[in-house]
């Protein structure tokens, strides 16, 4: 019984750990403008939710290991207005995301642009991001 309770608690903790932070903060409080990243990998999941979308991407590291990145995007309605659709997220799709790495969690990033395998490019940045020209 004690083992079962422990497993439930551990499971709840694991769920909590993988949940993206939802609290509002300024861009610079959560992401490092001095740490731009270019991530090339396989998109495994997209959470098309308010107030921000969350893109999950497996990126192969130089040592061959795969690192799971969690990437914040702008709200889904904005993504739609920029031409990105839910149907664009297909199984096994490769993509390139440019953005900025998280301050506290190096596996987090704020996405600025998303380039799909067919060459289409979308601005996926949020309000308050750096003036880097990604939205032009």
């Amino acid at each position: 019984m004690k083992t079962k309770i422990l497993l439930v608690v551990l499971g709840a903790g694991a769920l909590w750990a993988v949940q993206p932070a939802q609290a509002h903060h300024a861009f610079a409080a959560e992401y490092d403008e001095k740490k731009p990243v270019t991530l090339t990998g396989i998109v495994t999941k997209m959470e098309w939710v308010n107030p921000h979308g969350w893109l999950f991407m497996d990126v192969k590291q130089p040592d061959g290991k795969v690192k799971r990145w969690t990437i914040e995007t702008s709200g889904p309605s904005q993504l739609s207005r920029r031409g990105l659709k839910k149907a664009d997220f297909t199984d096994g799709m490769s993509a390139v995301v440019k953005g900025y790495q998280g301050v506290k969690d190096p596996a987090f990033a704020n996405g600025r642009t998303l380039v799909l395998a067919d060459g289409r490019s979308f601005y996926i940045g949020s309000v308050g991001g750096p003036n880097d020209g990604a939205d032009r």
Binding site: A26, A28, N50, F89, D91, N131
Partner: protein, 192 residues
């Protein structure tokens, strides 16, 4: 179209910034709470945000949408009347918590609390100063939050997940408009 939300946000920020500037030129008359005010704030604005508004707003936001897992789409919709009622409770919490923000004597943060992101987000003292310079502007944002919650409540009552999803963006824009004036007005430094 591409910059729709930015335009809305920018317009609101400009409007309130102008209001704040006007407030600097001619400070808004202080409106001390009535001596017999029955209100006794327990939590600071930061605590109301972190403990009441943000967690409940998350329930409203995350109740609808779509998860796309390896290309397979699964819509998020409250599964039954009980789930819809739960979302409604949280929408009401956000709506009514806006009134808590407007209470005159609520501190911005617990005593001695620093900025949680120094240099990016203002200190509690700086936020207090901005609020005190123009309480009507602060109250206007709180009231706009209540207005933004109305379509969400209507959508919940109609069990209309698409309308609730659309309302979610307006709620976020309203939050962001206020934050850009009172919380992190200096954020968004140029990257080039």
């Amino acid at each position: 179209m591409r910059y729709f939300r930015h335009r809305d946000a920018a317009a609101a920020v400009v409007l309130v910034a102008a209001s704040l500037l006007a407030g600097c030129a001619a400070p808004a008359p202080e409106q001390p709470p009535p001596a017999d005010s029955p209100y006794r704030p327990v939590a600071s604005i930061r605590e109301v945000m972190n403990s009441v508004i943000d967690p409940s707003a998350d329930v409203v936001w995350l109740s609808v949408g779509t998860d796309i897992d390896h290309g397979r789409q699964t819509d998020r919709v409250p599964a039954n009347d009980e789930k819809w009622a739960e979302v409604r409770r949280h929408a009401l919490i956000v709506s009514e918590a806006a009134n808590l923000l407007m209470m005159h004597n609520r501190p911005v943060a617990p005593p001695g609390a620093p900025s949680l992101a120094p240099g990016v987000e203002l200190t509690p003292e700086e936020i207090r100063s901005l609020i005190d310079k123009n309480p009507p502007a602060w109250n206007l944002f709180a009231q706009q939050l209540q207005e933004a919650m109305k379509p969400a409540l209507a959508a919940i009552d109609a069990k209309d997940s698409e309308a609730l999803f659309a309302a979610g963006e307006k709620i976020d824009t309203t939050c962001e408009n206020c934050h850009q004036v009172f919380w992190y007005p200096n954020a968004g430094a140029p990257a080039r």
